[in-house]
């Protein structure tokens, strides 16, 4: 019995620490980064004032901390605002929708490995809440639920623009979920495993998927097969990253909420903390999306360059704390990728809706599919005879050419009336 209580205590501790003390604070932090980074991109300063107002207490100087406390001030402001529910909304769904966007994003945290196992007094504990054997599938299945929040918000608001936003979100989600799922099949084939912890461990041992420059703790060029697999991996990375942008409704694909077209999209009718929940959901999805990309393609918590085994072995007495260093590495990568997300948002203009659909269905879907075959060919090559490999490659080329030809022929060539 005490064993079970001990287990539950560990799980609760992990949930509290990883979800509420690591991922949730990342949300306001990324909002802050968004504002500061966009500011410096636009030659501005951004929020740099909010801090501890020591001058109110009679001190000489305020502490600003570069404005890092700004998100807290924003949150407080949103709490104090009037939570207005318009008369014309469908109340139950209107109240449910914000929670439905936040919760899935936070649930998916549970399969992300944050670091290598920490060992205390002989008791080893993995830095992942639930070490599921279906990691990415779990993330996809749960994360795609968050579209219900957006769609319900759009529908229950019972007004035009939010409704259009909700419908757009649904269509977008369906189009990109396919590319998202297909694009990581090569990765899963390569590792032969769906457990994210195992995938990261393999990357730590044999080089990251996009940087396979070490093996078993030694720097060195990869063998031919691994080097060849870099190409499908890069294509998968590209498709996956762009699809994640679409999934999280980030800038080039933020059609569900584009301010210039739909006022505010699905959250037009929301105010106060309900609006903040949408905001939080969006940023939490961004954090999880980045975490997933890093875990699958960029080595997760691995420091790389053959240092991981050494780091995992660091210990003081019986406490192996290498996992914490790995966790720091993971969070660094996460922040870097979030900054990349932000850079994309302030660089790339929004797609038109038909461009978005075309990109999803005509380009990425096919590219991901062909990429699966290509990866399969490369993964299976060592076991096959050269005749089969050659014929496979030829077949792949023919299929690719056919797909490109079909895409070209089916292209809409109607003359634009505006001329």
């Amino acid at each position: 019995m005490p064993e079970i209580i001990f287990q539950i205590a560990i799980i609760v501790t992990k949930i509290v620490i990883l979800t509420f003390m690591v991922v949730l604070p990342l949300v306001p932090l990324s909002v802050y980064f968004e504002r500061r980074f966009s500011a410096i991109i636009q030659d501005r300063v951004g929020p740099n004032r909010v801090g501890i107002p020591l001058t109110l207490l009679g001190f000489k100087k305020d502490f600003h901390f570069f404005g890092l406390i700004q998100p807290i001030a924003d949150g407080l402001k949103l709490f104090l605002k009037e939570d207005f529910t318009p008369n014309h909304v469908r109340k139950a769904f209107y109240w449910m929708a914000p929670a439905l966007t936040v919760v899935p994003a936070l649930i998916t945290v549970c399969v992300v490995p944050f670091g290598s196992p920490i060992s205390i007094f002989g008791h080893s504990e993995k830095l992942v809440i639930a070490d599921l054997d279906i990691g990415p599938l779990f993330i996809f299945s749960v994360a795609s639920l968050s579209v219900y929040g957006i769609t319900l918000a759009g529908w229950s608001s019972n007004s035009k623009f939010p409704f259009i936003g909700g419908v757009r979100s649904t269509a977008q989600m369906i189009s990109y979920e396919i590319a998202l799922g297909l694009s990581i099949i090569p990765v899963l084939m390569y590792y032969g495993d769906l457990n994210l912890s195992t995938i990261v461990q393999q990357q730590a041992d044999h080089g990251w998927l996009l940087l396979p420059l070490w093996k078993n703790g030694h720097l060195g060029l990869p063998d031919l097969n691994t080097a060849l697999f870099w190409f499908p991996a890069a294509i998968a990375f590209l498709i996956f990253t762009i699809s994640i942008f679409a999934e999280t409704n980030r800038m080039p694909f933020d059609l569900p909420e584009c301010e210039t077209e739909l006022v505010g999209g699905y959250h037009t009718e929301y105010s106060s903390m309900k609006f903040a929940m949408f905001f939080m959901g969006e940023y939490a999805a961004m954090v999880i999306g980045s975490a997933l990309i890093i875990t699958l393609f960029l080595g997760g918590w691995s420091i790389g360059f053959g240092l991981d085994a050494w780091v995992s072995d660091l210990h003081i007495g019986d406490i192996y704390f290498g996992g914490l260093i790995h966790m720091g590495c993971f969070l660094t990568k996460l922040l870097a990728f979030i900054l990349f997300f932000i850079l994309v948002r302030w660089t790339v203009p929004r797609f038109r809706y038909d461009q978005l659909m075309k990109l999803g269905w005509v380009v990425f879907f096919e590219a991901a599919l062909i990429n699966v075959f290509l990866a399969a060919l490369i993964v299976a090559a060592p076991q096959l005879k050269s005749v089969i490999i050659t014929s496979g490659a030829v077949l792949l080329l023919i299929v690719t050419a056919a797909v490109i030809w079909v895409a070209k022929v089916s292209e809409d060539t109607t003359k634009v009336l505006r001329a």
């Binding site: 980074f37 500011a39 410096i40 991109i41 636009q42 030659d43 501005r44 300063v45 740099n48 850079l343 302030w346 660089t347 790339v348 634009v416 001329a419």
Partner: protein
């Protein structure tokens, strides 16, 4: 006849595939970000930036020394070199003032005053700085060159009454103006 058929530009493969433009965009935004951090943004110099972008950060840095010559700040009354108040309360500024910010109560100068020949001076001269639009018409219309727009721009107050500049405050801002200011002289 007058129809001009515009051809959409034909995009080549590189332009269609879009990635080149993306990379270019990343370089552009990143170069802006880096320039901002180094305080080398375009226009940072002339806008007296704080070293981060082109923004001057207000309470620490002020416009004061960067104010252009022609800046129109708060209107104020001036005295001449003998300490005489120049205003003769002709009320032209009060009448010209578009937002009706100026209110003058005229009064006569008693005959035993050394400046008795001026005959009039304002008893009260109030400018409501909430109404003032800094147009400078009072300055332009004043025949005695008694009211000027100074460069004071931080007009603040905690209540409406604070924002009404009375005569004392106006002279305090204005100070003395030495010499004849040749505003309407023959050169112009």
């Amino acid at each position: 006849m007058a129809i001009v058929k515009l051809q959409r530009p034909k995009l080549n493969f590189g332009e269609k595939i879009y990635f080149g433009a993306l990379i270019k965009g990343f370089f552009l935004t990143m170069s802006h970000a880096i320039k901002t951090l180094r305080g080398k943004s375009v226009g940072a110099e002339s806008l007296a930036s704080s070293g981060l972008g082109i923004t001057m950060q207000f309470p620490e840095q002020r416009w004061d020394e960067h104010m252009p010559e022609y800046y129109r700040g708060a209107p104020a009354l001036v005295t001449d070199e003998q300490g005489r108040e120049r205003c003769v309360s002709c009320q032209l500024c009060e009448f010209i003032c578009p937002p009706k910010a100026i209110k003058i109560t005229p009064s006569e100068i008693p005959s035993d005053d050394p400046w008795a020949k001026v005959e009039k001076r304002p008893l009260e001269f109030d400018i409501d700085m909430i109404r003032c639009i800094y147009c400078g018409m009072c300055e332009e219309v004043c025949p005695e060159q008694a009211i000027y727009l100074r460069k004071d721009y931080l007009i603040t107050g905690l209540k409406r009454a604070d924002m009404v500049h009375d005569k004392k405050k106006l002279y305090e801002i204005g100070g003395t103006r030495v010499g004849l200011v040749n505003k309407w002289n023959e050169l112009k």
